[in-house]
């Protein structure tokens, strides 16, 4: 872990209805290269809003987000270029249903990075092998199970060779027996040193894989620390109440 943060969030606020609803109420956060940051908290706590702000799918009301030294909220920044370096995995997979798995994975690299088809497909096949789905390259998303779809969504993001991967509740829409296969892929990525920001309800994963846990409630960062500090030794009452409910 280098000292320079790859993402640096400063006093981020996101208000709806002219401040009547404060989805994010001044959140600051640094993420280092190679770090796995897991954001937990009750629903409506702003954790997804925070994650989606990192690649500007939500436009914050105020505050700044530095990604590799560029302020992504400033007008002059080419957000499309920066998003190529920030992969995102969604709760509902969001695979492109009109494209085969192979085309899902090669569309971005071919059109955005200018990689020739043959090379993009070879790269995609290597990634598919990594998630044990190399035989489904020609299939359409509707022919896959939920767990398979999410594994494809992860390697689709990886095909862009991003510096950071953002996960927005990646296992929440899955049948329980499929959660494991997706978490295993994420664990492998963490082990390989991928920088990851994960919003999840999977406390087991947070504890085992997370380098740092952030607990959010009502749009604020309430507690932050190593899994041990958060799960074993916390003094924070709100965190204790939350953990009592989910553990």
């Amino acid at each position: 872990m280098s000292a320079d943060p790859i993402i640096s969030v400063n006093k981020l606020k996101k208000y709806y209805n002219r401040g009547a609803i404060k989805a994010l109420d001044g959140v600051s956060l640094d993420i280092s290269k190679g770090e796995v940051v897991v954001i937990i908290g009750p629903s409506g706590s702003g954790k997804s809003t925070l994650l989606r702000s990192l690649n500007l799918l939500e436009i914050p009301t105020s505050g700044s987000i530095l990604f590799e030294g560029n302020d992504i909220t400033s007008r002059g920044t080419d957000i499309n270029k920066l998003r190529q370096k920030m992969g995102m995995v969604f709760q509902h997979f969001n695979l492109f249903p009109h494209l085969t798995i192979m085309d899902n994975m090669t569309l971005g690299p071919r059109k955005l990075l200018g990689i020739p088809r043959a090379e993009a497909e070879e790269n995609a096949r290597r990634l598919l092998a990594k998630v044990a789905l190399e035989d489904r390259a020609g299939a359409y998303p509707s022919q896959l199970s939920g767990g398979q779809k999410q594994r494809i969504a992860i390697v689709r993001a990886l095909a862009m060779k991003p510096d950071v991967l953002l996960f927005d509740e990646p296992t929440s829409a899955l049948d329980p027996e499929m959660v494991g296969e997706v978490l295993d892929v994420m664990k492998d990525l963490a082990r390989e040193g991928m920088t990851m920001v994960v919003v999840t309800h999977e406390m087991g994963f947070a504890r085992e894989v997370g380098h740092r846990i952030i607990f959010m409630d009502e749009g604020r960062k309430i507690a932050e620390g190593t899994p041990e500090e958060i799960f074993e030794h916390t003094e924070n009452e709100r965190l204790k109440t939350f953990l009592a409910k989910v553990l």
Binding site: N55, L57, G87, F90, N94, F96, P97, G108
Partner: protein
Amino acid sequence: MYLYQLAIGDWWNDLKDTFTLNFIDDDRYMLLVKGLGNTFLVTLGATILGILLGVIVALVRSTYDKTALGMRPGAGKVVLSLLNKIASLYLTVIRGTPVLVQLMIAYFVIFVSIAQHKTIVAIIAFGINSGAYVAEIIRSGIMSIDPGQFEAGRSLGFNYAQTMLYIIIPQALKNVLPALANEFIVLIKETSVSCYIGLHDLTKGGEIIRSRTYTAFMPLLAVALIYLVIVMFFTRLVNILERRLRNSER
């Protein structure tokens, strides 16, 4: 019994005679054939023009609906809302007036200089008319795509236009293909009013025969029958298409 046979025979002979008079004599059936050709020409041209216009208008309208609220004030926002105003005006005017009136305005007022090219005027008039309906069909297709698709495209680094082009439009078009095909079928019948500007389409072909033979029954029935057969044929095609599209999603 004999009288009865005589009556039937008379009726049959009459029928044969009027048929011969209306379609065989002077090769009058060719009036229908030529008319049918023009009907297809106008329908096809108007469909292509309509889809072009419709896609553009639908893109303007859905882009405005999706992004205008979140846009920063500036030139882009001004241009977009102006385009949206123009598109809305177009939809209101075209869908709020009868196609026959639009056709006559096109022929007698706007395109007087090219009035000898009736087919071209008809294609433009029906194309502009059809574009308004196609625009709303395509817009509903675009709006029906899960917003997650859009976010997935943007999150990979595609800009708005690329996301539309590679991800949203292909899915939207696939969803609305049957509705677009129906618009084509409606247009086949609608072009029949172009005999008001003297265009020799299928209906006009029947009218010419009627005016020459002074019989209405045969030529009009023939015209109706031809429209019916064409529409039934294309309706079947659309049904097959719809079934195929449904199956490909499974």
